[in-house]
Subunit: 192 residues, 2 copies
DNA sequence: AGAGCCATGTAAAAAGTTACATGATTCG
DNA sequence: CGAATCATGTAACTTTTTACATGGCTCT
């Protein structure tokens, strides 16, 4: 017996991420791209080649609309804003309780799993290289924390900035732990 | 002017993960599936529907070979082992220095970014739910650590078990930090 | 005999990346 | 005026997931 194919769509996380960002403030696809790859980059991101088709799809679904505005003389840009239906879809997604996602993949950890196949020299070289990259990244995150007006918000009211602040805090904690792990590994490997 | 399409293949991480596992020990696709989804699950994983085609591809590329063995009377299984070319490809991949990968995506962090759109009650409910799930996961990892014969290997020689041990240690540290972050968030949110 | 696991595949779709493609604006 | 950035798209491909599909083995 043959079964019917069932059309199921996936999580559509990008869809909801876009709705959430546009819900904060109307913007163009280009703006959205920058928000994803600068502000949200520590937990979600997307290339413009994924964003533009998704904006079209969301428009077709009636969850967002756009207004064409002129930048200068000729350049048309599309300023997207969320619709009532879009707001509802976003809030529905937001309040849904999710199970744990699968642990994120990590190529470096995968390589470390195969450590026995490397020479001690190569192992240490690789660990130190990763350490340098991670330290650099952590510094950037810490600079962002210092330079942003988050500090005054801590333990204060719930404002849009509060979300920015706690996810940045989480990113810093995560990066510090990665570095701690690298340091512990290096120490153990050096002593053998 | 039209440009020629360039055939580029991607990172092929699954390819190298499979080579690495088979390099440790010859096994079937089914065994491989279990290794991925039980042992490596904290940094890499794959469904059987991805593994079987990849095994075929690697066989065609001459990086692995198989021997058909019988399980019982009729059931044929394919026992894969790595070839010299496979070993070389694996070691080349292993010793290559990689730049940092993009930060892993995380739907819960994404939702937290949008925290201003939730009620305090809903926020706390969601945080506590995630906390329970994460604690459960951490306990499992800690149990694995205790039950495995890793402890005796610490600061000892480089053996296959050493890779298992340090990645598990990293997974535990990562999970603890996630929990710490959730706890800090909950504390801050409750006090406002 | 039936449940649960062992064992191997393919098809279709979703999600994401890289490359192709074009043109306007801004600022030094 | 040139470089960087703003701005919007499509095509081709890789990677991953979900569903379809089948059948043997083991243990109770």
């Amino acid at each position: 017996m043959k079964y019917r194919k069932v059309m199921v769509d996936g999580m559509r996380t990008l869809k909801h991420a876009i709705l959430g960002v546009i819900n904060r403030e109307a913007m163009t696809g280009y703006d959205l791209m920058k928000v994803f790859n600068l502000e949200l980059v520590n937990f979600w991101y997307a290339k413009h080649s994924q964003i533009y088709p998704e904006l079209k799809k969301l428009t077709d679904e009636g969850l967002i609309t756009y207004e064409t505005v002129l930048q200068g003389e000729k350049l048309e840009k599309k300023l997207y804003s969320i619709t009532e239906a879009g707001k509802e879809a976003f809030l529905r997604w937001l309040s849904k309780q999710d199970l744990l996602e699968p642990t994120p993949k990590d190529i470096f950890r995968l390589k470390v799993y195969f450590i026995e196949s490397m020479t001690k020299e190569d192992i240490l070289k690789q660990f130190h290289y990763q350490l340098d990259l991670r330290k650099e990244k952590l510094e950037k995150l810490e600079t962002t924390m210092i330079e942003h007006p988050y500090a005054r918000i801590i333990s204060d009211v719930i404002s849009p900035l509060y979300g920015d602040y706690i996810v940045l805090k989480g990113a810093i904690m995560r990066e510090r732990t990665y570095i701690d792990w690298l340091l512990e590994c290096i120490k153990e490997i050096e002593n053998c």
